[in-house]
């Protein structure tokens, strides 16, 4: 189908030149509407992506640039910190992401059952998601510190031992997981919308057939909302790949070091347990100014993110051509 042919039903009666002129005008119009974004795409997406590949073969510190072939890539194989960060990211993908999706689904399911105060509950569970991540992290480091933190005060009185989350290497990631579960709001709202979209008639039919609650959930709810579950899981993974603010701030506040004169913070406190790939990239690129090597780390991130983006694109393709009639 020629572009725009459907939009002008009387093309046939016009003269050829007039039709050609109209088509050119339409093409210019599309270009005009898209131009800011097209320029932005070239300047802030295509160019820097290509430049990242180029710089990855160099040693560059903003002042001197030297071509070093594959040395940066070879270094990656021996860079213990890079592997630590990837192991941490894998932990977060395997533990944090599924927990958050399940918790989102659970709270949404609860929301569909609550008859009284449902609106209030929805607001209460949604609001923490809106809280600036830096503020939420600072607050959690305080709330969960063993000396003066209210959480420990309460659990101590109840006789439940609580770990020193953000200062104890094996507990730092579970601490971050709790923080992430507190911000479950967006996942919850998406799940709630999906649950409410399940046709009520299916449930009624199943109830007549004598299906129990679990069987209804397993055979009706899950299949209907599975695309939304997949969407949440994949966006969760992509967000986890970029996980920067919470581990960085938690490490800084818990270790008591910050970007003040005389204090330098190397990400990962305690003991590399919160080090993630973007933090290591930041450290290499913008604190140590190993910009060539930072580009290698960027490409690793890009490769992993692309795999998951392709999966999302396949989901989106189903409605990419869809339009209001």
């Amino acid at each position: 189908m020629a572009p725009g042919s459907l939009r002008v039903p009387f093309t046939g009666t016009r003269t050829g030149t007039a039709a050609a002129r109209a088509r050119r005008r339409r093409r210019l119009r599309v270009l005009a509407f898209l131009s800011p974004w097209l320029v932005g795409f070239a300047l802030f997406f295509a160019y820097p992506l290509a430049a990242t590949v180029y710089f990855s073969f160099t040693r560059y510190n903003l002042f001197t640039l030297e071509y070093i072939g594959l040395d940066n890539y070879k270094y990656l194989l021996h860079d213990g910190e890079a592997w630590t960060s990837m192991r941490n990211t894998l932990w977060l993908i395997v533990v944090l992401v599924p927990l958050k999706v399940l918790f989102g689904l659970g709270t949404a399911q609860l929301m569909t059952k609550v008859k009284r105060g449902g609106g209030l509950l929805r607001s209460v569970l949604y609001v923490p998601y809106l809280i600036p991540p830096v503020s939420a992290t600072v607050a959690f480091v305080f709330l969960m510190n063993p000396g003066t933190g209210p959480f420990h005060t309460i659990t101590d009185r109840l006789g439940i031992p609580l770990p020193d989350f953000f200062n104890d290497a094996p507990w730092a990631k579970p601490g971050l997981t709790l923080l992430a579960l507190w911000a479950v709001g967006d996942v919850m709202i998406i799940m709630l919308a999906a649950l409410l979209n399940v046709p009520q008639s299916l449930y009624e039919a199943a109830a007549i057939d004598g299906a129990g609650a679990w069987s209804r959930f397993r055979h009706i709810t899950l299949p209907t909302i599975s695309p939304v579950l997949a969407f949440s899981a994949v966006t969760g993974v992509i967000e986890t790949l970029q996980y920067f603010t919470q581990p960085m701030v938690a490490g800084k506040v818990a270790s008591g070091r910050a970007d003040l004169p005389g204090t330098q913070y190397s990400p990962g406190y305690p003991d590399g347990s919160t080090l993630t790939l973007p933090q290591w990239l930041y450290d290499q690129g913008f604190r140590q100014f190993n910009m060539g090597y930072a580009c290698v780390l960027a490409l690793v991130m890009f490769a992993i993110a692309m795999v998951f983006t392709l999966f999302l694109l396949r989901q989106f393709r189903a409605f990419a051509g869809e339009e209001a009639s």
Partner: protein, 286 residues
């Protein structure tokens, strides 16, 4: 009374008891989860009004209510950080709207070759971690001697934001074509049709992307950390360093933290529906 009738009656009352039990269970869980979600905020607020000495104890309840802490917080650089955050977030939002709305309109309304390819590129750009392109962009901005300021984060918004374009496009395709066609028959140009006819119907989506953009910038930590020098620090960076600057004054730290949350809460309660609709729009169609 026959045996069958009594058994039916017993069954009905049994299911009524079960339903009541379920009601209690559901609402008890809801209250428990609600309390757990509010607890962090409550303890932050209580700590924020303690004296600095008491904040260093395990106390949960403030002895003297030091509301002055919220004023003391501003003795340092807090005012400058707030101004920087507001400037950064507002300019970004305005620039984003100006550049992204036409692009979203074109992707939703016009038929042209490569439209689906363009949409794929938008989604890919939306998913691209910002860290991937950071090094070359930093190098470019350093050539323009703009590193140290927030301009490297604001100027790109003049050239479209992938997430906003995608979200707006998702909304615009749901507006029936007839409205725009009618306007065109009446002799409206495409730009006038967009501004006068389509956009007024897209107000909820416009509000959603504007709010998301504003709070994305307000909450942003990574990108200002890369670019801004201490004169251009935003609230997010400032609050992250607050505890170090003020030694161990947890009360002031909590007060400052609460102040960064406050605008978000106010806007949320004023525009709740916009938020919820916006979030739903991004997810449900996947």
């Amino acid at each position: 009374m026959t045996a069958a009738a009594t058994s039916r009656q017993r069954m009905r009352s049994g299911s009524r008891a079960r339903r009541a039990l379920l009601w209690v269970a559901v609402h008890a869980t809801a209250v428990a989860i609600g309390v757990m979600f509010l607890a962090p905020l409550a303890f932050m607020a209580l700590t924020a009004v303690m004296t600095d000495r008491q904040a260093l104890t395990g106390d949960l309840w403030p002895r003297n209510w030091e509301f002055g802490n919220f004023v003391d917080v501003f003795s340092g650089d807090m005012v400058r950080w707030t101004v920087n955050s507001v400037v950064y977030a507002s300019l970004s939002t305005v620039f984003m709207l100006v550049s992204s709305v036409p692009a979203a309109y074109a992707l939703a309304r016009f038929r042209f070759r490569g439209r689906n390819a363009a949409l794929v590129v938008v989604i890919s750009a939306m998913m691209l971690p910002p860290q991937v392109t950071m090094v070359p962009l930093y190098i470019v901005w350093s050539r323009f001697e703009l590193t140290g300021t927030l301009w490297p984060l604001i100027i790109p918004q003049l050239f479209g934001d992938a997430f906003s374009i995608f979200l707006l496009r998702q909304f615009l395709v749901t507006i029936p074509r007839e409205y725009a066609d009618a306007a065109r028959v009446d002799g409206c140009g495409e730009l006038r049709t967009m501004l006068r006819v389509v956009l007024p119907m897209a107000k909820p989506a416009l509000a959603a992307v504007a709010l998301f953009q504003f709070f994305y910038c307000w909450n942003d930590y990574f990108r200002p950390l890369v670019y801004a020098d201490p004169d251009h620090w935003t609230l997010a960076i400032g609050v992250a360093t607050f505890r170090q600057a003020h030694r161990v004054e947890w009360n002031l730290t909590m007060a400052a933290t609460l102040l960064t949350i406050l605008p978000v809460l106010i806007v949320f309660f004023l525009a709740q529906r916009v938020f919820i609709q916006g979030v739903t729009l991004t997810g449900v169609k996947g």
